[in-house]
Symmetry: C2
Subunit: 572 residues, 2 copies
Amino acid sequence: MIYPEWLKNYQRATFLADLSAGLIVAVLVIPQSLAYALLAGLPPQAGLYASIFPVIAYALLGSSQRQAVGPVAITAIMTYAVLSPLATPGSADYVALAALLALLSGVLILAFGLLRLGFLSQLLSRPVISGFISGSALLIMLSQLPLLLGLHGAEGNRWRVLQELVLHPQTVQPVTVLLSGVAMLLLLANRYLLGPQLTRRFGSALTVQIWVRLMPLLVVAMATVLVVWFDLDQGSGVTVVGPVAGGASLLAALDWHWSALQALAGPALIVALIGAVQNITMAQALALKRRERIDTNSELIGLGAANLVASVSGGMPVGGGLSRSAVNVVAGAQTPAASVVTALTTLGIVLVGTHWVERMPLAVLAASIVVAAISMLDINALCQAWTYDRADALALLGTALGVVVAGIQVGIALGIGLSLIALLVRASAPHIAVIGRIPGTEHFRNVERHGVHTLPGCLFLRIDESLFFGNLNAVEARLCSELAKRPDVGDVVLILSAVNRIDTTAMERLADYNRDLRDRGIRLHLAEVKGPVQDRLQRSVLWRELSGSTHQSVHAAFEALAHTEPVEDYHI
Amino acid sequence: MIYPEWLKNYQRATFLADLSAGLIVAVLVIPQSLAYALLAGLPPQAGLYASIFPVIAYALLGSSQRQAVGPVAITAIMTYAVLSPLATPGSADYVALAALLALLSGVLILAFGLLRLGFLSQLLSRPVISGFISGSALLIMLSQLPLLLGLHGAEGNRWRVLQELVLHPQTVQPVTVLLSGVAMLLLLANRYLLGPQLTRRFGSALTVQIWVRLMPLLVVAMATVLVVWFDLDQGSGVTVVGPVAGGASLLAALDWHWSALQALAGPALIVALIGAVQNITMAQALALKRRERIDTNSELIGLGAANLVASVSGGMPVGGGLSRSAVNVVAGAQTPAASVVTALTTLGIVLVGTHWVERMPLAVLAASIVVAAISMLDINALCQAWTYDRADALALLGTALGVVVAGIQVGIALGIGLSLIALLVRASAPHIAVIGRIPGTEHFRNVERHGVHTLPGCLFLRIDESLFFGNLNAVEARLCSELAKRPDVGDVVLILSAVNRIDTTAMERLADYNRDLRDRGIRLHLAEVKGPVQDRLQRSVLWRELSGSTHQSVHAAFEALAHTEPVEDYHI
C-alpha cells in the first residue's frame, strides 16, 4: 500500500507531464494556501506546511489519480468555527489546538476507512451537502468583511462587523478598501468576463485555463509590490501578513490537555465527516471523467493519513481541494507524482521566499477568498431541487440558513435531521390505489386514472410503500373509508407488489385487521407478495391466521374471485 | 363534547350494570392506587385523589366506552425517575412538582389532541413499546426491593440496594421479609395457579374473574389486620403507610418556580408521549373487541383533561390502566358511567376510611406491585419479534436494557433511535434482481430463482426499494458488478415497479450514470415507472437526457429490445 500501484508502472513520458503540472500547481496555489490559513485563524505558514507533507502522504495512500489535497475553504472555516471559542486565533494555543483537530479528524477518517465505513458518507444527501457548502460560502464572505474594510476588533462576531459598519462608518480604512476593491474587481472580471471570453474564443485550451487560474497570484503579487514600493503597511493602515516563522519549526508545540481533547472530540467528528464526504464526492467526480473507479475506503485512508501528517508537521486540517484539483487536472497531471512535485516545490518556496510573504496585504488575500467563496454558492442546485422536490429544496435551505445563523455544526445536524424527517414523512403517507382490470388484458390499474373492470363484493387495494410502524394508521384509515363506501364488500385483496418490507409492527397490525375483518365476515387476501417479504411472513401469525388466500399475481386473484361473482363495469 | 354521546341515550338497564361495575372497580383498585402513589414517591392519598376527579373528566371527554384511567405503573415509575433527582420523595416540594408534571403532560396531551397530532403516537413501534414496558417492569421490581426486605436508605440508587444486600445481609428485617414473602406467594399462586385453574373449570365467568382480582385487596387487608392486631409497626420494624392527610387538602401548594418548569418540560414531553401511546393502544384494543372505533384525537383530549384535573386535585399523572380497565370490562361496565360511580365511591372511601389505610404495611403493597410488574414482562413479544425480524427484536432488547441501565428517557430515545437506524439500514441495502421472461408468458422473474429467457446484450435490473440518498451506492455497486460480468451489454433496463419515490440525490446520481453509460456506448432505459414518480421525473435532467426509452411494462421493453436481438436461453 505504501508502494502504490501508480509507482510500479511509472513511465518517463508520464513524469514530464506530472513535473510540469506539479510545478504549476505549487506556484498557483500559494496565495490560496496562505489565505485559507488566515481564514482558519492560523499563521500563514500553517497553510504552506499543510501543502507539503500531507500532500505526499495522500499521494502514497489515496486512490484518486489526480485529486490534490491541501488546505481547503470548508475545512478552514470549520477550523475557525470550532477553535475560535477555545483560544485566541493566531496564538500558540490556537495553533496547537488546530494540530490536535487535524490529528483527531485524521484518526477518525482513518478509522472510517480501515473499518470500511465509507458507506456512511452517503448519510449526507446532495441537497444537504449543497446547502452546507453555500451556507459556508456566505459565512466565509462575512468573515472576510473586516479584512476587506480594514476594520479591527470585530473579527470575533460575524454580526458585530455589520453593526460597526452602520454605526461607525468612519473606522473604514480608505487605502485598504481601495486595495481590496480593485483586487476584487480584477478577480471578478477575470473569472466572469475574461475567462468565459477566452474559453469561447480558444476553446478550453491549457494556456487559457492556466491564465485564468494565474490571476489570483498576479493580483496578490502586484499588491505586494505596491505595499513594498509605497510602504503602505507603515502609515496608511494597510495590514499585511506579518512575520512568518522560519521553515524550521515543523513540529507544533504539543501541549495538549485532556480537556482540549474532550472539547474537540465532537467537532472533530463533524470535520472528519464533512471532509470525508467532500473528498469522496470530488474523487468520484474526477474519476468518472476518466472512467476510473474510486475505492471509497482507501480514499478515506489516504485522507486520514494526510491529516495525521498535517497535525505533526505544523499544518492544519486538509481536504480534497476543488480549485487545487482543477488546476492539477488542467495542467495535465497524470498520476499522484504531480502532487509530490507540488509538495517539494512548496517546501523550496517555504525555505527561501518567506520574506516576500510577510508583506502581502491581508485585504487582497481576503478579496481572493471572497471571490472563491462566490463560486461556492450553488443557486443552481437550489433551483433544480425546487422544481424536482420541494422537500429536498427545503432541506437545502434549512442547512444553509442553519450554517449562517447558528454555525456549521448546527447547520449540518439540521440538514441531516431535515432529510430524515422528510424521508419519514413521505413514507408515512403512502400512495394507495383501488385498482381494477383493463378490459381484455391481464393488466390492472388505478380506478381513478383508467376505465377498468372491478368485481362487485371485492376490493383490490394496491399499497405503494413498504409497511412499517409509521404508516399503518394511513393504511387503516384508507381501508376503513373504502369499506364504508362499499358495505357489500366480502373480499379485500391487498396487492403488495411495491411492498419491499413489512416490519413487526406492521405484521401485527395486519394480523389485527385480519381478525377484525374476519369477525365482520370479510376475507383478507394477499397478492404479489415479494419473495423476501414472503420468506418472513411465512413465520408469522398473520400467515397462519389469514382468512383468505395468497395469490401469485393480481390476475390470479381476480380470476379466483371472479368465479364466485360476475364482472361489473366500474364507472369513473 | 362536555355532554357526551353516551349520556344522551342513557338507559336504566345499562345503569345497573354500570353501578355494580363501578363499585367493584372502586373497591378492587384501592390497594393499587395506594401502591402506585408510593411507587411514584408520593404520599398514598395522591393515588386515591388521582382515582376521583381525573376519572370523571375522562368519562366526560374520552372516546373509549370502557377504558378506566387512574394511576398506572408506567406513569408512576416515570414520575419517580423524573422527580427524584429534583426533590426528596414525599416532601411538599416533591408533591408540588408531581402536580406540575401532571399539568405539563396534561397540557401537552391536550395540545396533541387539539392540534390533531394523534398520528405522532405511531412514531413508537410495537417492539419499542414492548421493550419499554418490559424494561420499566424490571425497574419497578428493583425499586421495590428495599421495601420488600425492609432495607432503609438505599431507595435512591437502584444498584445500591443490591450492594447493601450482599455486603450487609443483617440489615434485612425478618418480620418484613416474612410478611412480603407470604404476600407474594399468595398473590403469585392466585395469579398463576388458582386463576387459570378456576378459569379452566368454570370458564371465564364473572365470579371467577372477580375472585382472582379480589386477592390483592384481601392480602393487603389481612396484612393490615395483622399489623393492627400485633402492633407490628411499633417494634418489629414493619414500615406502614403512615399518616394520611385528610380529605380536605385537594389542591396542592402551587409554589412552582420557573426553573422547575424548565427542568420538567423535557420529561413532561416523554411522559405525555408514552402516556398517549399507552392510552391509545389500550383504547384501540378494547374497542376492537366490541367493533367500536376510537377517535385518537378525542382520546387524547380526554386523557389530557384527566391529567389537568389530576394536577389541581392533589393527584399524580394518570393514564389508561391495564388491570383497572380489565376489571371494569370483566365487572360488566357498559359506558363511562361506571367510571363516574368508581370515582364517587373512591371519594367516599377517602372521606371515611383513611385511618385504616395508615396502618397498611408497605412491604405487602410492594409485593402486590412486584406481582403486577411480573405480568408486564412480555417475553412473548421478544420471541415473536426474534422469529419474525431480528432487527426489531434488537430494538426491543435495546430499549429494555436502556431503560434498566440508563433510565426511562435514555431507553425510549434509544428505542426510537434504533428503530430509525434499522429503517435506514434496511432501506440502504435494497433487494436488486436481474430478471428474465418466463417462457411463453408476459411475466418476468429473478434469473436466480426461475428458469427464464433473457436477451443477449440487455440487462434487466429490478430495484425493490425507493431510491434515496442512502442507497445509491448499493445500486451503483450492483450495476457495476453486473456490467463487469457481461461486457457485451449495450442496453440497461431499470425496472421501477417497486420504486415509490426517487429523491433529488437519487435522480442526480441516475443522471450521472446515464451520462457515464452513454459515454461507454450503453443505453439506459426505464420501465414500469409509477405515476407519482413519473410526474416528478418529467421535470428532471434525467428525463431530458435519458439515452434510452421509457416503457409502460417490462414486457413492452422486452419486445422493443427483442426486435434488434435474438432471445437467448438463460441457464441457471
